[in-house]
């Protein structure tokens, strides 16, 4: 109905921003713990709203669990789960789920493999049997192994032609020692992938996929009883797996260095500045989060305001700690116009130094805390958003009330803690600077910055 409005009710005061209205309290959904006889932890959160539910299984079987010579094994195994299981062909699995309109997402990261179903409440339960089969009883049919192996090789070739993924891959290689898994690409290389056999894959599955390594999370508009029904297909899974060996993380070097991956003719330089960061379950998690928000974790962060809004060097720049069970990388990432590569790198180091040298201002601190605490509930509007928080609890052994307390923990961070963690966990003097760009045009200005030795690699010669 269209009702024209005759008169504005009251004149707007435009000169000052309106203050916030009364706070409407936010509560993390109540988490219920369900039991399975084989000991798999099951977390369930009822999320009312549209009739949607997410069922997700996470297995501690990731890139860190593969032998050094078998880079890409976890990733290939994860992708092959939906290629056939318990006698059903991959095409039949896809067909059955798609008929239900249920979305299946399967993938592997450094720490774990996850398989997730999202769909309408009446239909996902019918998919849970299939999900359990993929995890318990994948068939790894030889033709599919062959097909996905070549698909993964093709993916590596694609990544090599893409300056962004090439920069990420090389950053890993120059940040971590070659004995640390994070130094190699999670997906493997053109040398390792072709050597992965069906037997490698099957034995990786046998060694790592078991109830003791698994957690199940459910979030959606269903009751506890329906949730209990959905996990039944996992009840009779009773194999055992060995304990996981925790990895040790070593930097490649403690000397700062610059590496240019030469791509003649590039109109932009992909820049990565990074070093070894911190693990996820870390006592300084919240101060680190707030510190990084001020540095490069929001649009109005120092890095973005400098490189983008003041200088116009880039479309955007960000910094992040990739927190894994072990310490992943801290990385500043951006793409800048070739002509300003040296200036941009200099500004990045200026900001890395500044946040260590002086405390952040009260305004910066308050804004960053409010931002991190405020956007947290926004990630919980969807069932898959809630499910991924539950999975985080399982994977990183977080306490039961962790997410209830999350916003409060963020808001309690103090300026002296920010300064302390900036000094403790940012190490600009030990950073690797990796740049994919036109070496002939950028080498001189990078050398002039005197950051450390400058090495130039031919993009085509990287293996």
């Amino acid at each position: 109905m269209n009702v024209p409005v005759e008169q504005p009710v009251s004149r707007a005061v435009r000169t000052e921003p309106p203050g916030p209205g009364p706070v409407r309290p936010f509560a993390f959904p109540l988490i219920e713990h369900l039991a399975l006889p084989n000991g798999i932890p099951v977390l369930f959160a009822r999320v009312d709203g549209l009739p949607v539910v997410t069922l997700s299984a996470v297995i501690r079987a990731g890139g860190v669990d593969e032998p050094t010579t078998r880079a890409g094994l976890a990733s290939l195994t994860g992708d092959l789960l939906e290629s056939g299981a318990a006698g059903s062909a991959g095409s039949d699995i896809a067909d059955a789920l798609e008929r239900l309109g249920v979305q299946l997402a399967v993938g592997s990261s450094w720490d774990f493999c996850h398989a997730e179903l999202t769909g309408l409440t009446g239909r996902v339960p019918r998919g849970s049997e299939i999900l359990a089969d993929l995890i318990r009883a994948p068939d790894f049919p030889e033709p599919e192994v062959e097909r996905l192996r070549s698909e993964h090789v093709a993916h590596v070739l694609q990544g090599r032609a893409d300056p962004r993924s090439l920069a990420n891959e090389m950053a890993g290689r120059y940040i971590f020692s070659s004995s640390t898994p994070f130094s190699r690409p999670l997906g493997g290389t053109t040398e390792t992938i072709p050597s992965l056999t069906r037997e490698d894959i099957a034995s990786f599955h046998r060694a790592n996929f078991a109830p003791a390594r698994t957690g199940i999370v459910i979030a959606g508009a269903i009751g506890r009883e329906e949730a209990e029904q959905m996990i039944q297909p996992f009840a009779e899974w009773s194999v055992t797996a060995g304990e996981r060996t925790e990895i040790t993380v070593q930097p490649r070097s403690r000397e700062r260095q610059v590496v240019i991956v030469d791509r003649p003719g590039s109109v932009q330089s992909e820049v990565r500045v990074g070093h070894v960061g911190v693990p996820r379950a870390h006592p300084d998690y919240f101060p680190i989060l707030v510190m990084n928000t001020v540095l490069g974790g929001a649009f109005t962060s120092r890095l973005n305001m400098s490189l983008r809004e003041r200088h116009g060097f880039t479309y955007g720049v960000s910094s992040a700690f990739s927190m894994r069970r072990a310490a992943g990388p801290f990385l500043v990432a951006t793409a800048v116009q070739t002509e300003v590569t040296g200036s941009a790198v200099r500004e990045i180091f200026r900001e890395l130094a500044a946040i260590r040298e002086a405390p952040v201002s009260d305004a910066e601190l308050v804004d960053a805390r409010n931002y991190v605490a405020g956007v947290f509930p926004l990630t919980l509007q969807t069932t898959s958003g809630v499910a991924s928080r539950l999975a985080e609890m399982v994977l990183y052994d977080l306490p039961r009330d962790y997410f209830e307390k999350y916003p409060g923990e963020v808001l309690a961070v103090q300026a002296d803690e920010v300064e302390r963690v900036a000094n403790q966990y940012l190490a600009p003097d030990e950073a690797a600077v990796v740049i994919v760009g036109d070496a002939a045009r950028i080498r001189g200005e990078l050398e002039a910055l005197e950051l450390g030795p400058v090495e130039v690699l031919d993009a085509g010669s990287i293996v």
Binding site: V9, A12, P17, P18, G21, R24, E82, A94, E98
Partner: protein, 427 residues
Amino acid sequence: MAIPIERFDLANGLRVILSQDRRQPVVAVNLWYNVGSRNEREGRTGFAHLFEHMMFQGSEHVPDTEHIAHIERVGGSMNGSTWLDRTNYFETVPANGLELALWLEADRMGFLLPAMTQEKLDNQRSVVQNERRWRVDNQPYGDWDERIQALVYPPDHPYHHSVIGSMEDLDAATLDDVRAFFQTFYAPNNAVLTVCGDFETAGARELIERYFGDIPRGPDVPAVPGRTDIPDRLAEPVRHTVESDVALGRAYFAFRIPAYGRDGFVAADVAANLLASGKSSRLYRSLVRERRLAQSVVAYAFPVVTGAAMLVVWATANPGNELDVLERAVWEELESLGRAATAEEVERAVTGIESRQLIALQQVGERADQLSMFTTFFDEPERINTELDAYRELTPEQVRRFAAEYLRPESAVVLSYLPQKKEPGAA
């Protein structure tokens, strides 16, 4: 589905949609301006998008970059985007930030120009040119949509050029252009405001009237330039081959189709889903899984409304496969769709579309964006609740007929990317 909708219009022509959902203390504010790259004049491609960037550079009562800072410091997320037909601006904030978000949006709708300076324009020009380098010029296949649009639409159609625009035209943009564009297109009578989420209706309405009510109506918006009334099929096929720095060959197949909102678009959308949505789709099953010619396949019907829309299929070749073998295989599948699409497949595709829509609508920001879209394009926000009916009513015969009439070699654009041949002896 029943998304609640309350609509009212302000005297200045601003259309307002309210959709309440109080389950979580978050609220989305979303504005669509009925202006996109289609409205750009010759020599100013990319300007609608550059202008969108200027909307984040402050307004009379909001200093420089404070717009974004205000949203971030209340714990909100925000952005804007420019597309062929429209430009949108949106933020999701904790419920108690609603008034702030409305104040910010009203200030840039009513009072942008006093804050515009040459310095800001030069800075954002540089940011946007870097966006172009990042998205288009330094990315494998990055210029595909620019090339496809130029081949699918004639030079005098406003979709002939890309949203990002050319470097030269971006260089040519002036502050006078900013002023004229604002005065022409950024007025309440050319916009839709949607508020979705946790608010109290009477209060929200009062705030909207207070902040937007006295922004003056603008002049009538000029017609979209050029010739928009074009046939929804190409008169003859077009082929184009690009050698570039890509690792794998890829072929794009593009077809004009009926514009979004017209008869035939729903059939096109479902056909695209039958072709490449999910692993049970025709192209995936045949070209990726069984014949292993392709590494990946995509098909998408672009929901654009001016004259004719387009459906694009693309397939990336596996290493060692010749692109022309892949191309022939795609044609076999397109031809087979016109003969043999089954009721079961259509049912599966529609079920998938329905699920994805419900999953997406869990977010108040998505709901608000769709309500703004349906109001801007069709003046019918209620379509958010009824659009799926048209999908459920679609018959397999309609899908087959669509494929047979539209997805034909005689009216196709085929754009192929081939890996650059390295010179002998070069590394």
